[in-house]
Symmetry: C2
Subunit: 323 residues, 2 copies
């Protein structure tokens, strides 16, 4: 492998996003120079994917490139922000051109979809690890985790649990059957809910992205809001493939505790609720009410009329799951 | 180790930088929300340090935390930007509290010096690797690599080569003697030239930070400017400890090709030269003229009146040095 670092970056990443007029200096100088739109706030997120931790060793490179961007976009969606620019720090054991070209294609696919420019970053040698930093804008107030109030309705977008099932399938822990391709795709190529997040700013009192499992992330939203929450077991939105592949009981469990969904969990106050449901029909926007915030701390799962207190069991890199 | 990821971040990084009024939302939500000053451009850099590649395995944690920020600040200095905010992505094999507290102390020391707020990031489990993303501002035009013209004077700050000698000492490749502590410190705790960079915007036609070796980085500045350069061997600024420890010949070689200095290399046009030297005396600001840009491409080293064409031999992660 004789291509230099600089050649690699040049070749695969210079045209990895879109060209934007607000990029004064992009990849190739010591730093990027960018124009912030007047009157808006800058929103910044940064997430890392580690080989064998956040994706299986040997995962498809286009999925790794796509997901490294998706997980960051999802953070911006949770704030109600619109994405503009990204920086990419890629650590690689070797400069494999086939791998790089697929990785870049996965990244570029999602970048183009959200009009995002790749403006800088770093390529280094070492164990495979990808950090992406995304910058975006929000006009007015960003959605925070902390704005929920007791009595607010609690919602989730999409069908959580699918990605965790997809990961189990990717890792060969579950047998193949009908519907498994759909679930794999939900893990490999999750959909950051950018448009939903941007629109929800008008209605939601609080929002968080569901990356570590719905239960844990809803718990974080509730705790940041000084509340607890009740989640209704029967109201969890489950995909048909998930129920078919996992069975109903395990599907509910995955919807509550599986990670990597990159959906949005949000609360809406009584004053905004009717307007939300009228202006953004749940069927069209793909979200569903799963419960409510309440004054008492902690999360209860309401099943068959009985409430069961649940331990906070979100995804945690250094405790429990070993991830 | 039972502290959760979230507890770790909270404990060590929440107060790792300064509090700034332009941070609307810092660590703890899905993303940070920041106020860009009107009329200024945003400047963004991101660099990664990998264990055993960019620092010796077992390096002091405070140095790793400090350097992870310093290498990024140096990129901002090269643009003439002032730093404001940083995000930190830390991948760790285990959550060692002693290590984390020293790492955070090293990071915080430099952050406080430059009025920088740590506003977000990610902590993950995996082989030790640190990515920092720094955001800053520049009013007016940033310095680019590409603005140099034939005939411009070429300068470098500080005494390049020191850090490479310091690394050799840290790795036990060189014997200890008088002056070695100074050289080690130059590797472990380099000084990003923030004030110099910000002031140079008035005078410099082009600027780059010297991270990969003076020869390679001067070559990048010259090439980006569509020029070549002559560097005068006798004019290389060498520290007394470097000459003492390495000898004159090896000291010159390290000044040309050693990495990790994080000094600035810059060019100044004839129209600005007298003003630069008068307004920013080299002795006070710690920089020195080392040659000139010229029309013919490539870099010549002028020694004892003879010019020798040098191969571009900058630091390169995937070719040559094996880093």
């Amino acid at each position: 492998m004789s291509l230099s670092e600089f050649g690699l970056i040049e070749r695969y990443f210079r045209h990895c996003g879109v060209a934007r007029e607000d990029v004064r200096v992009g990849v190739g100088d010591d730093a990027a120079v960018l124009e912030c739109p007047p009157g808006q706030h800058l929103v910044a997120a940064m997430d890392t994917l580690v080989d064998g931790v956040h994706f299986p060793h040997g995962a498809p490179p286009d999925s790794i490139g796509y997901r490294a961007l998706a997980v960051n976009l999802s953070d911006l969606a949770a704030m109600g922000a619109r994405a503009a620019w990204a920086l990419l720090a890629l650590t690689l054991p070797e400069a494999d051109e086939g791998w790089l070209s697929q990785f870049a294609a996965g990244f570029a696919k999602l970048a183009r979809l959200h009009n995002l420019a790749l403006v800088g970053g770093d390529t280094t040698r070492g164990p495979l690890c990808v950090t992406v930093q995304v910058l975006g804008h929000v006009s007015g107030s960003a959605m925070l985790r902390s704005g929920g109030r007791p009595g607010d309705a609690l919602f989730v977008s999409g069908t959580p649990g699918d990605a965790a099932a997809g990961l189990a399938l990717e890792q060969g822990r579950w047998p193949e059957s009908g519907g498994t391709q759909y679930l794999r795709e939900r893990f490999l190529f999750p959909t950051p809910r950018m448009e939903l997040g941007e629109r929800l700013r008008e209605y939601a009192s609080a929002c968080i992205d569901v990356s570590d499992g719905l239960l844990g992330d809803a718990g974080k939203l509730a705790a940041a809001s000084g509340c607890g929450a009740e989640i209704v077991y029967a109201d969890l939105p489950l995909s048909e493939p998930l129920v078919r592949v996992a069975g109903a009981e395990r599907a509910h469990e995955l919807a509550l505790t599986g990670g990597d969904d990159y959906e949005l969990c949000f609360s809406v106050g009584p004053g905004q609720l009717a307007q939300l449901l009228a202006q953004m029909p749940p069927e069209r926007w793909g979200y569903r009410r799963i419960g409510s915030l309440r004054q008492a701390p902690g999360i209860d799962l309401v099943r068959d009329g009985a409430a069961v207190r649940l331990p906070p069991s979100g995804y945690d890199h250094f405790a429990g799951t070993g991830r």
